[in-house]
């Protein structure tokens, strides 16, 4: 198959699947599940085949509309970053689909769920392949929609409905900036095509405002400071959704997009991204310590890693950011799926303090979870090590010591919360009846976590040659060569310190009080400080006290000026006057009268046309 044709198939197969499910399979959950999963696996196969058999850049473009000089179109641009992203998205998604079959076994609304997964696949692949800003934006919004739909899967629960609204609205705030950025690009450069923009922007220069506006989209979608508040609440969705959308692919799409338009980002914008990313990484890592819900804790971990990716972009290493995104996708998907397996095994118990001792009861889940955790902590030769340490190293080499400190703190926090999670969930004694009766999950759930966890968390970096298709490895190779085992590098010291002190220390620390959180026992104030959701409260205050006042004022103006003066008084008065006049003359219920007026009107028109 020629490459463009296979790209068409890859993009549109999920749409076909989603349409079939929406139209015919709503009530046939199991058929829908297998249809959606089969689609995911076939596009993974197609993508793998494409990546193995082709090389270099592949481009294709079709103009949908031409407005003067500007062409709005639909097209593909498959470069090195896109290849890696395509591989990660299709591959991770396929296994998560399989996992969902087991996880959603007893759900009534499976049809809707799998339809949602398919429409999500369509949207994210659109972002990956898009060759222009407009197409990216359209699929960006589709991704937002599917995220909304899947977070609200349990829409009869208040918290899920609220979380989906929060995610959607927060993303709108970012997307407003994004669409303004697109408009500005069109105005300033006259094109939306990535390659054209790249060449035009090199000799025309880049105004700060373009980067700032485009960054807004990234802030929303990738849950960067200050729009990060939605991600932890988004965990209200089913766990596979958290794994696929809110850890591995969608939130990473922002990073990918920024890497794609990195030539449009002015130095000031990069500076901000680096500082805020590193700061958020440290803060989110610490906040993960004060969460008892296993998924919320993982969500904070995702925030921390997204911060690290943002920081890598800001440091001017988009390829490192994309590499970390890929590695993170594998181990975080495994962690979430492992958490899903644990939750499923413990009869929908999500509180870590009520788990414990699951190592023996769920050995496969535990082994993969531990492997992914080690990768998350950047233990040498695990996937996370290659990318994360390279980013920390980059910060040191560019003499951004503040950023370096934040990143080091984030690395330490990562190790601590990972140790805490392992200790609370898998070691010690079961702390509740549900944990005592835990059982290993069915094969549809364990196979994906074995493949993603053992195969990729461990090997993705180490054996990149064997696992990741050569064509998508161009992104990885450069950082890998740069890394080249600097045993004396500061990042290595940070890593070793974090691992010994953080991981081992927390394993010990959290063993002190079984069934309770040791930090909360020792220092309730610190725990409270980390638990408190400053931004939710700040935004709540802003909306209640400032935005609502403004909205009420505008509503009052509307009532007074538009509704009162313009509509009631001027327009209403005029209509009433004319109505009084015309009803006597025109509306008399006589067919002949109407015919006369029609004739006169026609004559008037003919006269007008001829007289010109």
């Amino acid at each position: 198959m020629d490459p463009i044709q296979s790209l068409h198939w890859i993009l549109f197969l999920p749409l076909v699947s989603a349409t079939c499910i929406a139209l015919f399979l709503r009530r046939h959950g199991s058929i829908a599940a297998w249809l959606s999963t089969a689609t995911a696996f076939s596009i993974a196969g197609l993508a793998l085949n494409l990546l193995l058999t082709t090389d270099g850049k592949i481009g294709w473009h079709h103009d949908l509309a031409k407005l003067g000089e500007i062409s709005l179109g639909f097209g593909y641009l498959l470069d090195a970053n896109a290849r890696l992203m395509l591989f990660v998205v299709t591959f991770v998604a396929a296994w998560i689909h399989l996992f969902s079959i087991g996880y959603m076994q007893e759900d009534e609304a499976r049809g809707r769920f799998f339809g949602g997964l398919s429409i999500f696949m369509f949207s994210i692949l659109g972002i990956v392949l898009a060759d222009n800003l407009l197409m990216t934006f359209i699929f960006w919004e589709l991704v937002g929609f599917s995220s909304y739909m899947l977070i609200a899967h349990y829409f009869d629960k208040d918290f899920a409905a609220a979380a989906s609204k929060k995610a959607f609205i927060t993303n709108r705030v970012g997307d407003l900036g994004f669409i303004l950025g697109i408009a500005f690009c069109l105005h300033h450069y006259g094109t939306l095509n990535f390659e054209a923009l790249a060449s035009v922007s090199t000799f025309q220069g880049v105004p700060i405002i373009v980067g700032l506006l485009l960054m807004c989209g990234f802030l929303g979608k990738s849950a960067q400071f200050p729009l990060h508040v939605w991600l932890t609440d988004a965990m209200a969705g089913p766990t596979p959704v958290s794994a696929l959308i809110h850890a591995a692919t969608m939130v990473a799409a922002g990073v990918y997009f920024m890497a794609r338009v990195s030539f449009l980002l002015a130095p000031e914008v990069l500076q901000w991204m680096a500082v805020s990313g590193a700061g958020m990484a440290a803060l989110a890592g610490l906040c993960a310590l004060a969460q008892t819900d296993i998924k919320k804790s993982l969500a904070y971990s995702t925030l921390a890693h997204l911060g690290i990716m943002g920081c890598a972009l800001g440091l001017g290493h988009p390829e490192l950011a994309v590499l970390h995104m890929a590695m993170h996708a594998f181990f975080k998907a495994t962690l979430f799926l492992g958490a899903g397996s644990v939750i499923h095994g413990c009869h929908h118990e999500q509180d870590m303090l009520k788990m414990g001792g699951l190592l023996k009861k769920m050995p496969i889940t535990a082994a993969t979870f531990i492997a992914a955790t080690l990768s998350n902590c950047a233990v040498p030769f695990f996937a996370g090590w290659y990318s994360k340490d390279a980013i920390i190293e980059a910060a040191w080499h560019q003499h951004h010591y503040a950023i370096f400190t934040f990143l080091a703190l984030a690395a330490l926090a990562t190790c601590i919360y990972s140790g805490r999670m392992l200790r609370l969930v898998f070691l010690g004694q079961p702390q509740s009846k549900n944990a005592e009766q835990a059982h290993e999950s069915p094969w549809t759930m364990t196979t994906p976590i074995i493949i993603l966890g053992l195969g990729y968390s461990i090997a993705a970096g180490f054996a990149a040659d064997a696992i990741i298709p050569a064509s998508s490895r161009q992104v990885i190779e450069k950082p890998l060569q740069e890394m080249a085992f600097h045993l004396s590098a500061p990042s290595t010291w940070v890593g070793i310190f974090a691992l010994t002190f953080g991981l081992l220390g927390s394993l010990k620390f959290y063993a002190i009080f079984p069934g309770r959180d040791s930090l909360q026992v020792f220092s309730p104030q610190t725990y409270k400080l980390l638990e408190y959701r400053y931004f939710d409260h700040a935004y709540g205050w802003y909306i209640n006290h400032i935005q609502r006042r403004l909205a009420e004022f505008i509503a009052f103006l509307d009532l007074l000026v538009i509704n009162g003066l313009a509509v009631r008084w001027i327009a209403g008065g005029f209509t009433a006057a004319v109505g009084q006049l015309t009803s006597r003359t025109f509306h008399r219920g006589q067919t002949r009268g109407y015919a006369l007026w029609i004739t006169l009107g026609s004559l008037l028109i003919i006269w007008f046309l001829l007289a010109r």
Partner: protein, 102 residues
């Protein structure tokens, strides 16, 4: 017949049209109004044929066949409507059919 021109034909068509229009405006019986409407349609058709004849093209002439066919179908519907109206309202005088106005 030799020296008839396009203008003669158009004059005739216009005359027929005005007669039909006047009928529509002044008569009250729906049946008569309907006949006058048909007269207006025929006038337009006549103009079409005339143009076709004097422009040496067959388009208009062919078109007329369609118009006549469709008009026949339309007359059937229109007459059926008038019959139905009469059954319900017991009148076909247009000045008495003003239920919607009151």
């Amino acid at each position: 017949m030799e020296n008839t021109t396009l203008a003669h034909h158009l004059l005739l068509a216009g005359l027929l049209f005005v007669i039909g229009l006047t009928g529509v405006l002044v008569r009250r019986n729906l049946l008569v109004i309907y006949m006058c409407l048909e007269l207006m349609l025929t006038a337009a058709t006549l103009a079409l044929v005339a143009f076709s004849r004097f422009n040496q093209t067959m388009d208009g002439a062919v078109f007329v066949f369609f118009i006549i066919t469709v008009a026949a179908a339309e007359v059937a519907v229109g007459l059926a409507l008038i019959v139905a109206l009469f059954r319900q309202q017991k009148t076909v005088q247009s000045n008495e059919l003003n239920t919607l106005c009151d």
